[in-house]
């Protein structure tokens, strides 16, 4: 996108869009994070751990706001807090379906209390609401380019875990017992996946915000699962939907500066989340109808 000639597309691409350094960083980081979210999110939806994913994001706000308080990038706070939370959730019993919501809920409650404290301090100490906005709603245009290599490393680790453990993860998502009898180290695979989830959630928390990162994790994956019946294409479609939504969101946010007379840009997160939601809705309505038609021959054969 960055190499396109801006001249002919001036009405769409506002002047300065491609020459702006924050926009470059936003496009690169946003794209990478959307890919990670798509790959990891596909398994989050399959394993029915959307609540755990969302909770990790909320829990991360405690870390993000603490990092802001001590003057380092919220990314480190998100990652540290989410890894700790994932570890605690694993210990309390995320493996048992019934223990899962309980484990998640207990850790979530404790972390949100901390987040409330840190965000309050952030606001009172710096006499600005910037911290709250950054942590909760993302700061994609304010990312220093020095953070790009760090984000790349976290992204490679998260995606790598899911791709390397792909088959054991799939098998243990279907049935932990079945996987165990096949020699899958079920617990290790589960922990690996939680680490990937913690990283994915942290990464999208810095781009579109802690509160909204679930949208990028779950939305494109849910859309993809409606479109294909195979796991690998699902991960690719989810990543593609996520990247498209993020890039389009960045473009619209940049353009939105001139939409209202007050010259106030709309937040990127709003656009990304809305695009993700609309794409899911459209696929749901479209595929929902054709899937009902497809089901009939099978049903007829069984009867």
């Amino acid at each position: 996108m960055a190499v396109m000639a801006p001249g002919s597309l001036a009405p769409v691409f506002e002047p300065g869009f491609f020459s702006s350094s924050p926009v470059h960083v936003a496009l690169i980081v946003g794209g990478v994070v959307a890919i990670v979210s798509g790959v990891v999110g596909t398994f989050t939806v399959m394993r029915g751990q959307s609540f755990a994913g969302h909770s990790l994001a909320d829990i991360g706000t405690a870390g993000g706001s603490a990092a802001f308080l001590v003057g380092i990038s919220p990314l480190y706070g998100f990652v540290a807090m989410n890894l700790i939370a994932a570890g605690v959730m694993e210990m309390i019993g995320i493996r048992r379906p019934r223990g899962r919501d309980l484990a998640t809920g207990i850790v979530l409650g404790a972390a949100l209390g901390l987040a409330a404290l840190f965000l309050y301090w952030d606001t009172t100490h710096s006499s600005t609401t910037g911290a709250t906005i950054n942590v909760l709603f993302g700061s994609i245009f304010e990312l220093p380019s020095s953070l790009v290599p760090v984000i790349a490393v976290f992204s490679v680790v998260a995606t790598g875990i899911v791709l390397v453990a792909y088959r054991p993860l799939l098998l243990s998502s279907l049935s932990p017992d079945l996987a165990a009898t096949r020699g899958v180290p079920v617990r290790l695979v589960g922990i690996g996946y939680l680490i990937a989830l913690a990283l994915a959630v942290s990464l999208s928390a810095v781009t579109i915000g802690a509160i909204l990162s679930t949208a990028l994790l779950i939305g494109p994956a849910a859309t993809a699962l409606r479109l294909t019946k195979r796991a690998v294409p699902a991960m690719l479609i989810a990543a593609a939907v996520g990247v498209a939504a993020t890039w389009l969101g960045i473009l619209l946010a940049y353009d939105s500066y001139d939409w209202l007379p007050r010259h106030q840009p709309w937040p990127v997160s709003f656009f990304v989340v809305t695009i993700v939601f609309v794409s899911y809705l459209v696929t749901h309505l479209y595929v929902g109808r054709s899937a009902r038609h497809r089901r009939h021959p099978v049903a007829a054969r069984v009867a």
């Binding site: 799939l170 079945l178 996987a179 009898t181 899958v184």
Partner: protein, 276 residues
């Protein structure tokens, strides 16, 4: 029963003196039985009798307080390719991006790390297995969209593709309509006979299995009785096993086990439910 039919090769499965306690309660007490190659054995008992626990012990998912399990004469290893397993509960949401073909393929290499790259030989083997369970017509459908009977057939193919000598099925007939029930039983019996695979199939109702069952292992109150249906499923034997009177009623080659009113054989605490 097992000792007189002892053959030269060791039994496919030997369960000796297995006792299991869960949260301070005895679930299984001193369970003994053997399964020979190619035998079709029903593991019968009401819900909560300990069938699933027993299967979990055999699979190595549960550690018994005492006793041991031998598979083909050897202590069982954590990952035992000699045992194929069809679990009762499996997450098959319609949204699960998994075709019947993919699920069978996971039986081949689901424990391996890295992305799958299957050879044409492996793809052919997967197709053969799908064919063996009459699943070719829906091989490319989402597993979550299949009927209960179709899912069971795919799971059986998943278990069989690693060429096990013992197939364990946990309540495969639960929630199936009568016709799919019959199809699954016939399929498992056919494969057992053709490939000399021993089958241990748990069920709360023995009637669908009666035409094909070589032996029955009856579980009640944490104890088991094993033998042929004629030996085990009698008013006397089951009353001893349950520790209170039950009636075994045979109607049109179907068997009903109902609680009796006679309390003559109440609480035989010294009873050890074994038919040697």
């Amino acid at each position: 029963m097992g000792s007189e039919s002892e053959s030269v090769s060791p039994p496919v499965l030997t369960v000796e003196g297995i006792s299991v306690w869960l949260s301070g309660r005895p679930i299984l007490q001193d369970v003994n039985f053997r399964i020979q190659a190619g035998e079709f054995t029903g593991l019968i008992g009401s819900n909560g009798a300990g069938k699933t626990t027993l299967l979990r012990v055999i699979l190595g998912l549960e550690t018994p307080a005492s006793g041991h399990v031998l598979v083909a004469g050897r202590p069982r290893s954590p990952r035992n390719p000699l045992i194929g397993y069809v679990p009762q509960k499996i997450l098959l949401d319609p949204d699960m991006p998994l075709r019947a073909r993919d699920l069978v393929g996971l039986g081949l290499d689901g424990h391996r790390f890295g992305m799958p790259r299957r050879s044409s030989v492996q793809k052919e083997l997967i197709a053969e297995m799908l064919d063996a369970v009459d699943a070719t017509s829906f091989a490319d459908a989402r597993v979550g969209n299949l009927s209960g009977g179709e899912q069971q057939r795919v799971l059986i193919a998943h278990a069989l593709i690693s060429r096990p000598r013992l197939l364990l099925l946990d309540e495969p007939l639960a929630n199936l309509d009568i016709r799919s029930e019959q199809e699954v039983v016939e399929l498992v019996a056919r494969i057992s006979a053709e490939q000399q695979i021993a089958v241990l199939i748990s069920a709360h109702d023995m009637n669908p299995l009666l035409p094909v069952m070589d032996r029955v292992i009856y579980v009640a109150a944490g104890r088991v009785a094993s033998g042929t249906t004629e030996e085990v499923v009698t008013t006397e034997a089951l009353s001893l096993l349950y520790g209170h009177h039950v009636d075994v009623v045979r109607i049109n080659e179907r068997i009903l086990v109902v609680a009796g009113r006679d309390t003559a054989v109440h609480h035989h605490s010294d009873f050890r439910a074994q038919w040697p």
